[in-house]
């Protein structure tokens, strides 16, 4: 028996599941937007602007979800400053939650700046202050800000998996692949969100086809990493015999990866594939978190 079965469940449930899902989409979409911003053409601008908007709203929602989930939400700033020694900063580079708190703050800042730049580009900003900020984040500066946001974005998508691995809980600490899996899932769900939302901001068919092509590759990577994740669990895999295993197999692999892969390859309606990818990304977080959360330590210890 893995030694992880003697630890206690941290009660990370729906707020955290939603955060991992939303953070993955926001991070993945921002990463793709930054790549397209740097290496795409003028016709791809709607995708770039959509990506930064998704990132900005996702970062704000992520911050809210994380704060609400705390036992003492008003003390959220204790993650950033030493509460008894303000303004000394609180930072532990080896603690994923500490690192992540700073990353989400900076990601939010750079994503919001990039989104304002994009909105100003479209002439959608009516508030003078926001228009002024958006007006500054243009051209070369916009690329730099977007590039930083993109790098922070892919970090946000993946660190949540590392955070789970840096525990002593069953499944999470029994494999080093969760971070890589969440990176791939962040990329696939980020692309899916762009496929669904970018047409509303004028994305061309060509841009969407390219997103579909990328999503296909991301799904293949995700499937490969998922196989490696499960293989690395070894004897711990017995925890999947039950409801969460069914969710992983049917929901994540079947509906969330294989079905949209078929749709992408057959060039069927992209929106249907994208919705399935989002469903799969959500169920991946649900299954990996709740399968571990549900393991009662004393029952296992007592051999029950």
């Amino acid at each position: 028996m893995s030694d992880t079965f003697f630890s206690g469940a941290p009660h990370w449930t729906w707020f955290i599941i939603l955060y991992f899902f939303v953070g993955g989409i926001a991070g993945g979409a921002c990463f793709l937007a930054a790549v397209v911003d740097w290496f795409g053409g003028p016709e791809d601008r709607p995708v770039v602007r959509t990506g930064y908007s998704v990132a900005a709203w996702g970062a704000i929602l992520s911050g809210a979800l994380l704060t609400i989930d705390l036992g003492r939400p008003l003390r959220f700033w204790h993650m950033l400053f030493q509460s008894a020694n303000v303004p000394a900063l609180m930072f532990k580079g080896w603690s994923p939650i500490s690192f992540g708190a700073w990353a989400i703050l900076l990601f939010g800042l750079f994503a919001v700046l990039s989104a304002l730049g994009g909105a100003a580009e479209e002439g959608r900003l009516h508030n003078p202050a926001l228009r002024a900020v958006g007006g500054v984040v243009q051209g070369g500066l916009a690329k730099v800000v977007g590039g930083v946001a993109g790098l922070l974005g892919i970090f946000i998508a993946g660190y949540t998996g590392i955070l789970l691995s840096v525990t002593n809980r069953p499944i999470w600490a029994d494999s080093p692949w969760l971070g890589a899996l969440f990176v791939a899932s962040g990329a696939s769900t980020g692309a899916a969100a762009l496929i669904l939302l970018a047409p509303g901001r004028g994305a061309t068919e060509q841009s969407l086809a390219r997103l579909s092509a990328f999503d296909t590759k991301a799904l293949v990577v995700e499937l490969l990493v998922l196989v490696l994740f499960v293989a690395s669990l070894g004897s711990v895999n017995r925890v999947w015999i039950g409801f969460w295993g069914l969710v992983l197999l049917v929901g994540v692999v079947g509906l969330g990866i294989v079905a949209p892969l078929r749709l992408h390859l057959q060039r069927r309606p992209l929106a249907s594939a994208a919705k399935l990818v989002l469903l799969g990304g959500f169920l991946l977080r649900v299954a990996t978190i709740l399968a571990s959360e549900g393991i009662e330590r004393y029952r296992v210890a007592a051999g029950m």
Partner: protein, 268 residues
């Protein structure tokens, strides 16, 4: 600077009276569960069942019975291990968890914001949220009592000296003598967590056991949560790099297509 202090728990003399649990609850003013209406476990005389935010001591009852007249009770008063290398302290993002001058590990309730990272990090399942404070809590090894020269409430209350408090070096010597005594009587006794070169640099609350650690709900080889950090981070970076290259290759191919380059084959 005081010496490292801790507990040596000799499980062979524990009688399961739960005086330690009561003393701990009283001294630390820990609330009752469910408003004092306790649900009985139904399958054991142990109704506390686990350590958590309002149970900092738990007398574990292990009932090993093959038949009605063939078996034994093992009892162990469980508590925070005050690890020399503590996983909870390592991951705490607020700095709420500190190491004291007595080499014990304490959660400062006025700093903790209830993120619960420490709960998942502890290999022993010691920590949980206290619903009254909304913060993570566990045994403080009665830091307030130690500061004024008193011994912790639990060891003070223990009527059989199953829980012994003292300087760690002295406790280790005493524990080894007890193991030798039991072995000479034919009892399979082993110390758990007494080795400073062992897991987590040794436990400042260590045990004398007469069965496998797992039987007592203890991991055989407890480890720090950061053992996975380097590998997990490396694989995540590799995954991000692969996806980044895939995104770039797609775009570059398209650009070459647009420029009328070497068509479908122009992917490099």
């Amino acid at each position: 600077m005081p010496e490292p202090m801790g507990f040596f728990t000799d499980t062979t003399v524990c009688i399961g009276c739960k005086a330690c649990e009561v003393a701990c609850k009283e001294w630390n003013q820990l609330p009752a569960e469910n408003g004092g209406i306790r649900e009985l476990s139904g399958d054991s005389y142990d109704n506390t069942r686990r350590l958590d935010g309002i149970h900092w001591r738990h007398v574990r009852f292990i009932e090993q019975f093959k038949g009605p007249y063939d078996g034994r009770w093992l009892m162990m008063s469980d508590v925070c291990k005050h690890c020399v290398q503590a996983g909870c302290l390592e991951v705490c993002p607020t700095g709420a968890i500190i190491r004291t001058e007595f080499d014990t590990v304490v959660i400062q309730s006025d700093v903790c914001n209830g993120c619960r990272a420490c709960i998942a990090a502890c290999p022993f399942g010691v920590i949980d949220i206290n619903p009254v404070s909304g913060t993570a809590q566990k045994c403080t090894l009665c830091y307030d009592r130690l500061k004024v020269g008193l011994e912790p409430a639990c060891s003070k209350a223990c009527p059989t000296d199953s829980i012994q408090f003292g300087a760690i070096t002295e406790l280790r010597t005493r524990a080894q003598k007890r193991v030798d005594q039991l072995k000479s009587q034919g009892v399979k006794a082993e110390l758990y967590g007494a080795d400073p070169n062992g897991a987590l640099g040794g436990l400042n609350s260590f045990y004398l056991l007469v069965d496998q650690p797992e039987v007592y709900g203890l991991p055989r080889d407890p480890q720090l949560p950061t053992r996975n950090l380097a590998m997990s981070s490396s694989l995540s970076v590799a995954s991000a790099a692969v996806l980044g290259v895939l995104a770039l290759v797609g775009l570059r191919k398209r650009r070459m297509d647009d420029m009328g380059g070497p068509g479908e084959g122009g992917s490099n």
